[in-house]
């Protein structure tokens, strides 16, 4: 393998190979044991009817994967999660790009604005969820009543129609930080003489955006797209902190359902099948994105 050039290795080369093996082994062993093995165990259990506790279980093949689509719970959660994710992705890209373009203008105090806008990114999503939970519970109704806004005169998280939008708002409050900074970095990579030239040629603002800005930031858009998509499809912390999936099951995401089935209802193997299905969706999306970015580089 490594000895194509010369036949037989010197003692030093052998020592080097041994050192490299020694460097690689700890991480490789930890990763295989605590990352890949549970995944394989999951595939194995998903083909059984194990409840997670009893000693005996039977092999039932792909029955769990068929069953998850027969009960309404999973499809309802899947439908909620897809709706939530689509809204999250669209709003993140539109608002993140808009804020980044504002921050990219020649204005005073740009570092100050950036410093403040980035604060939410360092906080725990659980803390953020809990803070907004309390704000919705204690403060929003007071404001709503004072301003005579009927919709806000009670806790929006207890309202079936508003709960999802409230969670989405909180998710964006924190989740916009990193995409905005990525867009900002993308915008700053556009050579300014391109803009100047276009302005001299009398291009409209829209043309400049369409033909100069968009092509330059397209790679960033694709990164943000996938990051947000993964976050949305697996949303858990915000929902756990704010509604626990309620009211009723109106904000129950797939990750919430998996947690509930797996840890509180002893539907162990069933919950693993749900998780693996979602995992395959996420993996497929990542693979498609990587395929397309690599293709673009090759061209």
């Amino acid at each position: 393998m490594g000895d194509k050039k010369k036949k037989g290795k010197s003692r030093r080369d052998k020592g080097r190979d041994r050192a490299f093996l020694f460097f690689t082994a700890p991480g490789f062993i930890l990763y295989s044991f605590f990352f890949i093995m549970p995944v394989l165990m999951g595939f194995y259990y998903s083909a059984t009817d194990w409840d997670g506790i009893s000693k005996n279980y039977n092999f039932i093949g792909f029955d769990n994967y068929v069953k998850i689509f027969r009960t309404g719970q999973f499809t309802d959660a899947l439908f909620f999660t897809i709706k939530y994710t689509v809204l999250l992705v669209v709003l993140t890209i539109v608002l993140g790009l808009a804020i980044a373009m504002l921050l990219n203008r020649k204005i005073k105090g740009r570092t100050f604005f950036r410093g403040i806008y980035f604060i939410p990114a360092v906080l725990s999503s659980l803390t953020v969820g809990l803070i907004f939970n309390k704000i919705c519970y204690y403060i929003i109704p007071v404001i709503g009543k004072a301003l005579h806004i009927h919709a806000l005169s009670q806790n929006p998280l207890a309202d079936k129609n508003l709960a999802m939008w409230t969670i989405l708002f909180v998710n964006l409050w924190q989740g916009l930080c990193i995409p905005t900074l990525l867009f900002l970095a993308g915008l700053q990579s556009v050579p300014t003489d391109l803009y100047d030239g276009a302005a001299l040629d009398g291009a409209s603002a829209w043309d400049i955006f369409r033909y100069i800005t968009i092509p330059f930031i397209l790679p960033v858009v694709s990164v943000v797209f996938v990051l947000t998509l993964k976050g949305g499809l697996m949303v858990f912390d915000y929902i756990k902190a704010m509604t626990e999936g309620g009211p009723g099951s109106s904000t129950r995401s797939v990750a919430m359902l998996i947690y509930k089935h797996g840890f509180t209802q002893n539907k162990y193997a069933f919950a693993i099948a749900e998780a693996i299905f979602m995992g395959l969706v996420v993996a497929a999306i990542s693979a498609v994105q990587i395929y397309f970015t690599n293709k673009k580089k090759a061209v």
Binding site: F23, T24, V39, Y45, F118, L130, I135, A275, S286
Partner: protein, 278 residues
């Protein structure tokens, strides 16, 4: 034309300042409510804390549970970061330099990349079985687990970074007679430091703020709680008291906010640089 641009700038400022209010207001309410008595807060949530009320903070800071959670969080984060410093750069060095000549190392690299595609939920439930079978449902066990989970992302970032470092300097050290370990520690490791900062910030913030892993592995008794578990369990127990509830949030956020004040540039760099490259 100039007039229009000026108006545009005014509009930009107005929108950006509204955005700042939107970000600051929830944090402001959190801080002032923690510093007011419930009687003060029920008059208005938005007034400044005059007179300042410190009882809630005294209660949190004298609570054994808070300090235990704080120490557990620091402990777990420290082990994970130490593990990342010791294991990941060395492993990435070996993988990056061996990949072009060795199929085995190429396979190791692709094997590690696999992890990036697998969402946490897929391994979540078997992981709990595995940890409890090994008697690892404790902070140390969680830390070892987190090091293992960070392998794929960390190695991916380091290997990408190694690609941009020409091997000339190592080869010079090698020809001068330095061993592999020596070459690594005195030439390669220092060159990797910028990426190490990125990796440590990424991993550190992730571990410190993580909720789901502690929830499924450490929620048996308060002795094992992390700060996120402390907050979560606290608010389900004492949800009636405004001041105390918000004081727990402040006590948990403050270390992060202080860290952010001093390390802002490094943090922003750390959280954005890896994402652009991948």
């Amino acid at each position: 034309m100039v007039e229009g641009r000026k108006q545009n700038n005014v509009l930009t400022y107005i929108i950006l300042i509204l955005g700042i209010l939107l970000i600051i207001l929830p944090l402001y309410v959190t801080f002032v409510t923690a510093l007011k008595s419930d009687a003060q807060s029920s008059k208005s949530f938005f007034t400044l804390p005059i007179p300042i009320y410190l009882e809630s903070f005294k209660e949190i800071l004298s609570s054994e549970r808070y300090w235990r959670a704080f120490i557990n969080t620091v402990y777990i984060t420290a082990i994970v970061l130490a593990g990342n410093i010791v294991i990941m750069p060395a492993m990435s060095y070996a993988v990056a330099r061996k990949m072009p000549v060795s199929t085995a190392y190429r396979l190791v690299y692709y094997f590690l990349l696999l992890g990036i595609f697998i969402p946490f939920q897929v391994k979540m439930m078997p992981l709990v079985k595995l940890l409890s079978a090994l008697n690892m449902m404790n902070p140390t066990g969680l830390a070892i687990l987190c090091i293992s989970s960070s392998t794929c992302e960390s190695v991916f970032l380091f290997v990408g970074y190694m690609g941009a470092i020409p091997p000339d300097m190592e080869e010079a050290a090698w020809i001068d007679g330095a061993g592999t370990l020596r070459t690594y520690s005195s030439v390669v490791f220092p060159l990797l430091k910028p990426m190490l900062a990125t990796v440590l910030i990424k991993q550190g913030l992730w571990i410190w703020n993580d909720f789901m892993l502690p929830l499924i592995t450490l929620n048996k008794g308060w002795q094992d709680w992390t700060l996120t578990l402390f907050q979560y369990n606290f608010q389900t127990e004492y949800s009636v008291n405004y001041s105390l509830t918000f004081a727990t949030f402040v006590a948990s956020m403050l270390p992060l906010l202080i860290f952010y004040c001093f390390m802002q540039k490094a943090i922003i760099g750390g959280l954005t640089s890896g994402a652009v490259k991948s």
